[in-house]
């Protein structure tokens, strides 16, 4: 199937048409834009946006893509990072993933992301595509993905819905990661009633590269070509944008446009595996100037971010995009979240070689445009202009909110309600019963049912995986240099005291890395919280960020990246605030790792450190 003419019968909303029809009503509210946000878009463009532009702005200005509620707070990470902490950081917050120098010419990149909401709707595919997304982020830095970890939170273990969600999530993470050939080296499984209607599915990926191979997402060099490669673009995850099709074409003979589309995406791990190998060969052959993965917000995100981070503009011929569905509109193509796609900037002389490498791996690749010096992102559709915007306004200059922050009124009561009033076991019999209850409790029971579904051996470099305090992989077979990664968070502590709770999560992950013999180097995080429109949640968020940042300064290791997931709540009730912290450490020689466990040999001496 090649790209088809619009089959919906309606006319495509071009820039020219938009300029001529300023009063044409647009469904911006259905797309999640506020009145003032829509006004600002009109202001930026000096006219109403076209459908395609509206689709781009609405997805890129969403909470998920623009960090509009969290930006003001996340700045604190930068403010508290000293030059000394920055010394080993090759890329930090703002790039696809943070990168640190681990010595011997090696750089390591890692990041954790959430896929909470999709995993509730369709646990298997939601979790699978979560893994796929984070792996592409790592790949887009120029690194070979090495391993994954999966911090998970579910409702009560015996709740009926947990029986739907948990097995699906685990099968999805395993199914995708195993098929990609990435060992799963750790994670968490935590049960708490607050996650019953809103499980947390976070996925962390770590990758490595030679320092000189670091690829940053930018489109530079006027005349360079923009290549789209990987899977075809379909109607996946278009979600809200489908209202545009129905609005614009309502009442015409095509019958009112699209029916409601499922907002879930289905993953194709095989295509991603081939895409990884293809990208790595492209990097090795020096054929890539800039690269960006297509994740949330699809081509809207990739083109605007590449152009925005580059020096000029970009022209895109949207009708060249290989499609999977018929009759897709420009707005739909721009916002499709079809998985397993990448976008690269390539020198004109290299296009042929680029296409050859893709052909070798059976990866579909097309040139969809080029880097220009116009300072604008211009998207064409069968010869007409459907998007003409300053790319920064889409990608980097979205709205920023200072949401109200307020310590919840019931916080004092919560803190005052300590364990003192709980009965303590006083007889040996009660002690025994308490112990047995704890051992059997879902939060302390063996995780084998989960971890046995994950391949921890593939690639033959896994030195530590479950059961271990942190996962460890070897990076350099000659020298034995490797990295250790752990993730932690106790949401109950964070709820009691978000500042200290976040520091406890950091300290735990830091310790888990340190006890394996690795030296902690960098921090990533996935900040899972309730609604930012709730001042109490915003207080939790603000406190957690401050706690984490201050803790990092104390320990002397920087936050190199992360992810914010808001709106984790069931009805009006937010989840336990869950800032999952990932710490990465380096070890010169993995043969000197310290495995977990005591009692391997008779006569060992046990020492207790700390108090």
């Amino acid at each position: 199937m090649t790209s088809t003419q619009p089959a919906l019968g309606g006319r495509i909303d071009t820039v020219e048409h938009a300029a001529a029809t300023p009063d044409h009503p647009q469904p911006y509210r259905e797309l999640g834009l506020k009145d003032d946000e829509y006004a600002r878009i009109r202001d930026i463009l000096g006219r109403r946006p076209t459908d395609a532009e509206l689709a781009m702005y609405s997805v890129m200005w969403s909470e998920h893509c623009s960090y509009k509620s969290s930006k003001a707070h996340l700045r604190y990470f930068g403010e508290t990072t000293t030059d000394e902490m920055r010394a080993k950081m090759l890329a930090g917050i703002g790039e696809n993933a943070g990168v640190v120098d681990i010595g011997d010419g090696w750089a390591v990149t890692f990041k954790v992301e959430s896929h909470n909401h999709p995993s509730y709707v369709e646990p298997h595919q939601g979790a699978a595509t979560g893994v796929g997304g984070i792996v592409r982020d790592i790949l887009a830095m120029g690194a070979r993905p090495l391993a994954v970890l999966d911090p998970l939170r579910f409702g009560p273990a015996d709740a009926p819905d947990t029986k739907r969600v948990l097995p699906g999530v685990v099968a999805g993470i395993g199914g995708y990661g195993n098929c990609l050939g990435l060992p799963n080296i750790g994670g968490e499984v935590v049960f708490d009633p607050s996650y019953a209607g809103n499980p947390l599915v976070n996925a962390l990926c770590v990758g490595a590269m030679r320092v000189e191979d670091l690829h940053l997402a930018h489109a530079s060099g006027v005349g360079n070509k923009v290549m789209l490669f990987g899977a075809r673009t379909g109607l996946d995850g278009i979600g809200g944008v489908s209202v545009l099709a129905s609005e614009t074409f309502a009442g015409d003979e095509a019958g009112g446009g699209r029916k409601k589309l499922p907002s879930v995406q289905v993953g194709d791990p095989f295509t991603e595996k081939v895409l990884i190998e293809c990208c790595l060969e492209l990097f090795r052959s020096g054929l890539v100037v800039g690269i960006q993965d297509l994740g949330g917000a699809g081509l809207s995100c990739a083109t605007s971010e590449l152009a925005s981070a580059g020096e000029g503009g970009m022209r895109v011929e949207l009708d060249r995009v290989p499609l999977r569905a018929e009759g897709m509109t420009p707005a739909e193509i721009l916002s499709s979240e079809s998985q397993e796609r990448m976008c690269a900037v390539v020198r004109p002389d290299d296009v042929e070689a680029f296409l050859r490498v893709c052909a070798k791996w059976d990866v579909i690749a097309v040139e969809i445009g080029e880097v220009t010096d116009t300072g604008r992102l211009q998207v064409h559709w069968h010869g007409e202009t459907v998007v003409d915007v300053p790319p920064r306004t889409v990608a980097h200059e979205g709205p920023v909110y200072e949401r109200p922050v307020e310590r919840p009124a019931d916080q004092d009561a919560l803190v005052a309600d300590g364990p003192e009033r709980l009965a303590r076991p006083s007889t040996p019999g009660e002690l025994r019963e308490t112990l047995l209850r704890m051992v059997a409790s879902p939060n302390l029971a063996s995780r084998r049912w989960v971890t046995e579904q994950y391949d921890r051996y593939v690639r033959g470099n896994t030195v530590l995986a479950q059961p271990a305090d942190s996962g460890m992989v070897r990076i350099d077979e000659e020298t034995g240099r490797g990295v250790a990664v752990a993730t932690d968070c106790n949401g109950r502590y964070v709820k009691l005291d978000p500042y200290q709770g976040a520091q406890l999560a950091l300290a735990e992950a830091y310790r888990n890395v340190a006890v394996t013999g690795a030296v902690p180097l960098a921090v990533t995080n996935c900040l899972n919280f309730g609604s930012p429109e709730d001042p109490g949640v915003m207080w939790q968020f603000q406190q957690a960020v401050r706690g984490l940042a201050d803790g990092c300064r104390e320990l002397g290791i920087p936050v190199t990246g992360g992810n914010v997931s808001f709106y984790n709540q069931t009805g009006g009730t937010a989840i336990l605030p869950t800032p999952v912290v990932g710490v990465l450490g380096v070890i010169d020689d993995v043969r000197r790792r310290v495995p977990a466990g005591i009692g391997a040999e008779a006569g060992e001496t046990l020492l207790l450190l700390g108090d």
Binding site: N178, C179, F270, Q453, Y454, G460, N461
Partner: protein, 236 residues
């Protein structure tokens, strides 16, 4: 002079680098073979490694067996070239008819990754001479479609001719018993690996290439397979 052992890469193959590492670790030379080339590059033996060739989407191994390189492997195997299929490689060898039977979804329906004890039932194949008969070895097992099945006549033949090479040791393994299975995957007769009639083509679900170094695997019990074939090739 050492042996040159080919390691095939299909789209979706994962454990090719592990297999090559195992070959190197016994001082043989690994030779990369590409699925699309009908060319074995003059190798002395071939390993079909694990992974998810073509995503295992239709059936594990169903698409890979039609690759040009497999036509050459089948031809060479019929002439007696040693061939080892590991996991997905075993599935591919069954699909291509070099080995009898088939591998289907684990009876527990889940992917299973664990350290698995095996008994070496036949130490006379070209891939197992370094083991003592009846030796018990610890090797990783990791797959979704690892349950070996064959019709009763084929099973009788395999058992009668001593062609069951590895068997899962299931004593005391209670982990799957709630599913009514007393092995990791419900394989008939607890079969983990089999050989062709000449003992030159061997396929097994567990991964000897992940057990070559106690640093990265549960043991180095897997090395014996690579040393065995090297003995045979160097002696020849």
């Amino acid at each position: 002079m050492t042996a040159r052992i080919g390691v095939i890469t299909f789209p979706g193959t994962l454990d090719d680098i592990d297999a090559a590492r195992a070959v190197r670790s016994v001082d043989a030379e690994p030779v990369a073979l590409w699925h699309a080339d009908a060319d074995l590059r003059g190798v002395d033996a071939v390993i079909v490694p694990g992974g998810f060739s073509y995503g295992d989407y239709l059936r594990a191994g169903a698409i890979a067996r039609f690759a040009p390189v497999m036509t050459e492997v089948v031809r060479a195997a019929r002439r007696g070239m040693p061939v080892l299929g590991i996991c997905n490689g075993f599935q591919i060898l069954c699909e291509s008819g070099l080995l009898p039977g088939a591998l289907v979804r684990n009876a527990g329906l889940h992917f299973v990754c664990r350290d698995q004890w095996l008994r070496v039932e036949n130490n006379e194949t070209v891939w197992t001479t370094r083991y003592d008969a009846g030796a018990e070895i610890l090797v990783p097992l990791k797959n979704m479609e690892g349950r070996y099945v064959a019709d009763p006549a084929t099973l009788d033949e395999l058992e009668g001719e001593g062609r069951v090479v590895f068997r899962y040791l299931v004593d005391g393994d209670a982990s799957q018993r709630y599913l009514g299975i007393d092995s990791p995957n419900g394989a008939l007769n607890h079969i983990a690996g089999i050989a062709d009639a000449r003992g030159r083509v061997v396929g097994l679900m567990p991964h000897p290439e992940h057990a070559i170094d106690a640093l990265t695997g549960p043991s180095d019990d897997g090395l014996g397979m690579f040393l065995s074939v090297l003995d045979a090739l160097v002696a020849a």
